[in-house]
Amino acid sequence: MTSATESSGAQSHYKLTHLKALEAEAIHIMREVAAQFEKPALMFSGGKDSIVMVRLAEKAFRPAKFPFPLLHIDTGHNFPEALDFRDKLVENIGERLIVHKVQDLIDRGEATEDPGPFPSRNRAQIPTLLDAIEKYQFDALFGGARRDEEKARAKERIFSFRDDFGQWDPKNQRPELWNLYNGRHRMGENIRVFPISNWTEMDVWQYIMLEQIEIPDLYFSHKRDVVERRGQLVPIGDAPFGPREGETIVNRTVRFRTVGDMSCTAATDSPAANLEEIVAEVAAARASERGARMDDKTNEAAMEDRKKEGYF
């Protein structure tokens, strides 16, 4: 860490590293949205990508406040550590957080949990998000999705248009040229904006290291109760996240490469306890990050289908 900081500090001011180039692009995109839209919001999940997005927003707008609030679509299936982290971060940066709960929509009968043996609130996020857009009249939402995560995302624009129903039409995307973003939209239409589209998992980790950004402990190696389910290490917690029949709880040294819902995020065996070790692990990794997301495994075009319905 020390040597890295020193060597980057000694660099010529004229040299542009790839992280600085990606940072500059993301800041530009955020300012463009602030200028072209009336009511943007930044989707904040408590995961590392959205934490990086908050840092980028600080770079774009400090010393002023952000010209938008943070929005958390709360599935109720969060890791408790992620919620604690969220609240602490919001207090530190002094920005506004809106929490919109999936449970409220389920209670109102406007969203349902997926039936079946693997309860997931992944799909229930879609009506919840659309409800938040309607209630607060958001016309642009920042998301931390990256194109290296999944094939459908590899072809999505940075400014991704959604119709009144939040749907994405992959065949009818606006051409996006140079650094010129066309945010013109009609009432009721909104866009999803992905400022870190061009970042990879490795870039995100390197940026976290370079900027010394604090992230939840879940990402670092720790002892945790898990079960093996369909070849993955599933974290065990209070109901409904207990073990199923026939499953044996084991205490293993694991970490999470991605932090989503407890119901759909698997852990990986890992001794990586600090950022340098995580970066080394990512460089040597043999499974992609979304491989640990059970929600994408349903079928070959799972992500594309959910995106068309309004998922991020």
């Binding site: 860490m1 040597s3 890295a4 060597s7 001011h13 004229y14 542009l16 590293t17 790839h18 600085k20 180039a21 990606l22 500059a24 692009e25 800041i27 530009h28 300012r31 463009e32 602030a34 200028a35 600080e58 770079k59 774009a60 707008f61 400090r62 010393p63 002023a64 194109r147 290296d148 094939k151 995302r153 590899a154 072809k155 992959p170 065949k171 995307q173 606006r174 051409p175 996006e176 040229l177 140079w178 650094n179 010129l180 973003y181 066309n182 013109r184 061009n198 990879t200 390197q206 970066v279 080394a280 460089a283 040597a284 990794a285 043999r286 499974a287 992609s288 491989g291 075009a301 594309e304």
Partner: protein, 447 residues
């Protein structure tokens, strides 16, 4: 692994493949970024080439390989189709075609790469132009059996039109022509012959076989007559720092940062991305369109002060004097200013199903500026196959390229595209559909 899945895209037999990259933290933080474009159609071996670059740099993960493999098998293919790794949308997978630009990422210890993977057919010209707009380098694939064909010329022309600074001509499938130097030399001559008409300054030719891996990552053992670098070696080492214009300072103001609160009540920063040139604290600057002059008081990124800023950094600039500046204005040096004007001569690539009409009004976006314009004239349409000027053309249809004259409702601060890609480009937006319908490169003032 069953015998039938052993295929030409199965790299596991290559002892050199995927041997792993050794990243040190310091090296990674010191890498630069190269954005390159690949264009070609299904048969050029483009997917195989990209697959090999991704695979050999460990950018394809096992679960993605498995997913592509199982999708191939369930579709009834005899072998794993590597294009499934790159063709992301369901329609593309079902039809076996590539219809949009896909962005791919890989890194070696020297550099990070972003590939804009573009479809090659003429009906996807607009997609290629989109991918080309942000590329520093273009890879053009030539099938050694077929030599220079119409598609090669079209792709080279777009490369030159969009002013991608570096071009690599990959003479692929050399294994199918017995690694013949004669064949390669002939293709190279043919290419140089027609490319002389284009403004392409840096061309590199590499004979290779993406299938066998010769000269992709490792130097070929089969072509000892070729003394140049492998493709990856070239991509890692091509000099791109000089592509940035450090001479002509241009700073389009994007967003004014004005904190509401006692702590920073004197702060008034102009947020934006440096389009070209170098800005330093203490520099004298002039704001356009007002013409008011001042000096740079500070440059910062999120409150971290910087002594200077170079393209394409996104920074916030404060001036010594309190002058009225807002989004769409531009900071530059008093003795080095862009052209300011409303009558503009430009090349345009049309991107919409509805043709461009002379006399119609559109909205344009240029740097952080928005204006309305009228298309005054279509000087000619350029036949992309023959490069002939069709002067009797009356409109521009999807994927057509032409030279137009526009008049804008307010002055734009621009440079010729050949001098600066950021201040020399604009997009045309249809005011009814809100769609981006044209991409334009400024030549200069209309005469």
């Amino acid at each position: 692994m069953p015998a039938e899945t052993k295929s030409k895209t199965d790299f596991s037999t290559d002892p050199n493949a995927n041997k792993g990259m050794d990243f040190s933290t310091d090296a990674y933080l010191d890498m630069d970024l190269l954005r390159f474009l690949t264009c070609g159609s299904v048969d050029d071996g483009k997917s195989t080439l990209i697959g090999r670059l991704l695979y050999d740099s460990k950018s394809i993960f096992e679960d993605q390989l498995e997913a592509a493999e199982s999708a191939s098998l369930s579709r009834g293919d005899q072998r794993m189709d590597l294009a499934l790794l790159t063709d992301g949308l369901r329609a593309e997978r079902e039809q076996g075609i590539t219809i949009d630009v896909a962005y791919r990422y890989f890194a070696t210890p020297k550099r990070k790469f972003i590939i804009a993977d573009c479809p090659g057919h003429v009906q996807y010209t607009r997609n290629m132009v989109t991918g080309a707009s942000t590329a520093n380098l273009a890879l053009i694939l030539i099938d050694a059996r077929h030599g220079v064909i119409e598609q090669t010329r079209r792709h080279s022309f777009i490369t030159s039109l969009l002013r991608i600074p570096h071009l690599v001509v990959c003479v692929n499938k050399m294994d199918l022509v017995d690694w013949s130097q004669e064949t390669y030399d002939k293709i190279r001559e043919d290419f140089e012959d027609f490319a002389a008409r284009f403004e392409i300054t840096d061309i590199t030719f590499i004979p290779m076989s993406a299938l066998t891996g010769d000269n992709v990552v490792n130097r070929s053992q089969s072509m000892d007559w070729y003394q140049g670098p492998s493709l990856l070696h070239h991509l890692e080492n091509v000099h791109i720092a000089g592509d940035r214009d450090m001479i002509d300072p241009r700073f389009p103001v994007q967003w004014v940062i004005r904190p509401q609160g006692d702590e920073h009540h004197d702060y008034r920063g102009y947020g934006g991305q440096i389009a070209s040139g170098v800005f330093q604290v203490g520099d004298e600057v002039v704001a356009l369109p007002s013409g008011m002059e001042s000096k740079i008081k500070s440059i910062d990124i999120g409150g971290d002060s910087q002594p200077l800023a170079t393209p394409p950094m996104s920074v916030s600039i404060q001036l010594e004097d309190d002058i009225d500046i807002s989004r769409g204005d531009m900071l530059c040096r008093p003795n080095n200013q862009p052209t300011s004007g409303q009558d503009i001569d430009a090349m345009v690539v049309w991107m919409a199903d509805t043709p461009m009409k002379v006399g119609k009004k559109y909205t344009i976006r240029h740097t952080s500026n928005e204006a309305r314009c009228i298309i005054k004239n279509l000087n000619y349409r350029l036949d992309i196959e023959t490069l002939h000027r069709v002067e009797e053309a009356e409109d521009l249809k999807l994927n057509e390229i032409g030279r137009i004259a526009i008049r804008t409702t307010k002055p734009l601060f621009y440079d010729p595209y050949r001098q600066c890609r950021v201040t020399g480009s604009f997009i045309i937006v249809d005011e009814q559909t809100n769609n981006t319908v044209g991409a334009a490169m400024i030549i200069g003032e209309t005469s």
